[in-house]
Symmetry: C2
Subunit: 117 residues, 2 copies
């Protein structure tokens, strides 16, 4: 996913997190950027989507965490036809390695210097 | 945390993830870098530590996910005196905002182009 998501404002736990950690290769940067933006646009309109945080470093390692109301919302988004096509592109072209972990958020704590979380 | 952690090699779920998302300000880069490296060194020696993934983008947003065997290991590391001092520095100096979420990883899936996860 592209940078610039900022920090997500999520409700009180429990909810779910999909932690997607990846190592990009150098192939097809334009195609990848277009796909990442499209997935951000599409996924965030799914019922049960709560927020997303995404960062990629100069070394090609990226972490994207998306937050969801429940497992059913995650499974619905996973089966989206455009998302499945993007998953195939990840295997075939864009990623040298990735790990996807689905986790249930049990507690959370936040801080904001200006008091506005 | 500094970049360069790569992707963590974690065991089969269940285990725990601490998702720490932060917005750095521009103050004290040397002190922050030294603290981040020290926390990486100290935390990874704790019993129950399974791995860490950390990325910070050019916009100051960073995501660090550390993986732990169980909640007890997370609580032990949280109470470490040097870690508590670092937490104070985060509030007082280094971060404009952060969110910390503790989650139970329930399932995971990985991919490596060369087959070596």
């Amino acid at each position: 996913m592209s940078a610039g998501t900022g920090l997500a404002r999520t409700p009180e736990p429990p909810y779910y997190a999909v932690i997607f950690t990846s190592l990009r290769n150098r192939s097809d940067p334009e195609g990848y950027a277009a796909m990442a933006q499209r997935m951000l646009d599409l996924g965030s309109r799914y019922d049960g989507f709560l927020g997303i945080e995404s960062v990629r470093g100069a070394d090609g390692v990226g972490i994207t965490v998306s937050y969801w109301r429940d497992e059913a919302a995650i499974l619905a988004w996973r089966s989206d036809p455009a998302h499945r096509q993007a998953q195939r592109g990840g295997h075939e072209t864009w990623y040298d390695r990735f790990e996807m972990r689905v986790a249930r958020v049990e507690r959370a704590y936040g801080f904001a210097r200006d008091g506005d979380r």
